[in-house]
Structures are given as structure tokens and as C-alpha cells.
Symmetry: C3
Subunit: 152 residues, 3 copies
């Protein structure tokens, strides 16, 4: 292995640890979303979690409302057009806050694959901001605002 | 730099170190794949590595078979339609196992660019599971199963 | 939490810390680019930074030239066709160099969303190499070469 430079002080080790932790958390969270595990996805939010998922719609507040929205998607839009959704997050910034929460900003896009069609539909492209909090040592989303790029 | 919260115990440092290591490993591995370096790509698998790359096809077993598949792609499909492929992995989860291997799950998509055409073809979107093992301190893929979303 | 394997020696911790640091740096840098903050984007390069951004065009040298190129894009192409651009980087490799700089290689693609159109244009897909350097403890791009896949 190439000798590494000594430029990562302990605070950078901390942010690096947090950074990977957040990436792993998001990967698990979208797995629940993309397989429509409504309760598990809702449980990745704090009990009072706010999911401001769509401009013009009321934010979803609390796990019951978040789980219900997943089930409603499953029973209506997905039932009529059973795409496999894959949420991709990227270009993540993690900003530790003084109160122990993490503010994050990232890009998101959805790939939607119809059965038998190898090329997915791509979009929308979104900008997302989160506040993450620890509950019993586990990351949870306390607040999420999704801003689709096409809504101006 | 913002003061970071003291929420990353040593086990999280370990998983964070592994997480970045796996990301870097995958980046190198797909570079071999996308430039059709057949031997180097095959060498990123363990000697007995299994590459279950396509539903309905037999899994590729061992480096000789894996390298042969890359060369066959190069000599047939790529020769007829010389796209530049770019494999993108995302939403990675790394699960350390008690036996010292790592189980991973992630999304993958291929971008394929034709000469002179700025917009790439996108797809297929896939879900991938790997088992990674260390050989002489280096990560290798011991097992990979690729499940394209369009195959149901 | 699953017990983690003891396979991440201190050099891997260093590379992991650097890896997350580079990811976070790129996320901030593209945020400036995608919101057309010309001065802030230029400031993410070293004073003598080189941005070889397009085959056939002269490389941009220095922050003044880089900022001017962003403003020119804003005043011409973006004014005529106000897409929201989102630069996505992926499959990053970080190679620490003996002189304290970091060489990186990664894939990049641009998603461009037109107002009111939920599906973004995708492309071009590119291969990028950077040299990153530390200035006052902060990462800066010293050199960047962007190679679009469609240019052969």
C-alpha cells in the first residue's frame, strides 16, 4: 500500500467515521423504501420525524403517517404500474451540529424499472436536506425536505 | 472545522474504515471491467470466485472463466458496438461477518456511451450482493450475484 | 451492532479518513458549480489550479479564468436554456502521493433538469483525474482533466 500522508487529524477521523455511518444508514433506509417495507422505513425516522417529500403536499409527520404514505403508494400507483424503484443518493455533505444532530445535504434521483424493460426511467432529480439524530445509538431521520429540480 | 460530536465509538471507526476500503476496492474493480482488462478484473476475484452475473446463465466460476467472459464480450458485442461502459455502484451496505468476510449489498447501473453521442444509454438497474474476502491483506470478491430489476 | 473484524490497520484508517474527506470536498465543490457560485467554485481550486474541462478547448488556468468560465456559462448557455445541472461523481479512487498531494480518479455524469420536466437529460458520462492539494489544511483542486466518453 502506498504510504499515506499524515494530514488527517483526529477531527477528520471523526467526520470520516460519521460520513461512512451516514452512507450506510441511507443505504439501509432506501432499501426499505424501494422494497416498500412501510413499517421499517417509517422506523428509520424519529418518532416525531417530518418527511417533507413533495412540494405542494403537506409534510408527513410521525411514523404512522410515513408508513401510511408508503402503503398508499403500494396500493395505488405501484399496483397500477409495478415499477421497481431504486433511490440513489450522491454528493453527500455531513455537517455535525453542536446539539449532537447531523445536518446533511445531498442529491437524489430515482431509477424506475418496468418488468421486462432493461432501460429504467430516470428522474426526478432532487436536492435533499436532512436532520439526522441518534436514538439509542442508531441514526434516525428527524427531518427531510425533498426539492425536485423540475419544480421552480 | 465544526466541533464533531462524540458519537463514533471504535467499532464505528472500524466499520467506517472498512466502508471506504470497500468503496475504493469497487472503484478499482470496475475500472478494470470498463477498460476490459480481463486478467486484472478476474484477479479482483478470489481464485475460487463465483460471478453469478446474469439470470438464466450459468455462474462464472474461477478467474479463468471470468477473464474469458470479459474477452468474449470484447471480441463479440463490443467489437460490433464499441460502447464505453461505465459501471456505477451506489447505496452500499457493508456487513462484516464473523468469519472475517464482508457481505455487501448495493445498487448498480451501467452507463453506455457510443462514440460521438454525448447522451449515454442508461441501464440496466440492478441489485447486487457480494461476499468479499481478504487475500494477503487485499480485498477480493469471493461471490457476486447480480439481479437486474427488469427480470421478474 | 455486529462484531467487526480486525482487518483495518492504521494505514487503512488514514486512507479511509482521506476518502471521506475527499467525498465531502467534492460534494461541496459541485454544489458551488451547480448553483453557479463562480467565485466559490473557483476558490475550491488552488491559486494556480488547472481545469482541463473540455477536449479541444484550452485548459482554464487560475481562479480568475475558472470563475469567468462559470459566469460565461451562466450568461450565455444557461440564460438561453435555464437547466438545473447536477454533477454526480462516483467510483472514486484516492491515491496519496509522496509529496502530500492526492491523485484521484472517478466517473462523472451531469443530470440536467428543465423547468417543469421531471425527467432529466443524462450525460455526458466522463472519466476524470484530479490532483488535490492541501492549502491551510483545506483540500483544493490543483489539476483536473475531464475526458468525456463520447469523444474518441
Amino acid at each position: 500500500m502506498t504510504p499515506t500522508v499524515a494530514t488527517a487529524p483526529s477531527t477528520d477521523l471523526d467526520i470520516s467515521a460519521l460520513y461512512a455511518q451516514v452512507q450506510q444508514f441511507y443505504a439501509g433506509q432506501v432499501r426499505h423504501l424501494d422494497t416498500m417495507r412501510a413499517e421499517e422505513f417509517a422506523a428509520s425516522f424519529t418518532g416525531d420525524g417530518v418527511f417533507d417529500h413533495r412540494p405542494g403536499a403537506d409534510p408527513l409527520v410521525g411514523r404512522t403517517a410515513i408508513a401510511a404514505a408508503i402503503r398508499e403508494y403500494q396500493n395505488t400507483r405501484h399496483a397500477a404500474d409495478p415499477v421497481q424503484r431504486r433511490h440513489w443518493f450522491n454528493m453527500l455533505q455531513v455537517f455535525p451540529q453542536d446539539d449532537g444532530t447531523l445536518r446533511t445535504e445531498y442529491y437524489a434521483v430515482v431509477l424506475q424499472t418496468r418488468p421486462g424493460v432493461s432501460e429504467p426511467m430516470v428522474g426526478p432529480s432532487c436536492f435533499v436536506t436532512d436532520v439526522l439524530a441518534y436514538e439509542d445509538g442508531e441514526l434516525r431521520t428527524k427531518f427531510r425536505k425533498v426539492s425536485p429540480d423540475y419544480v421552480v
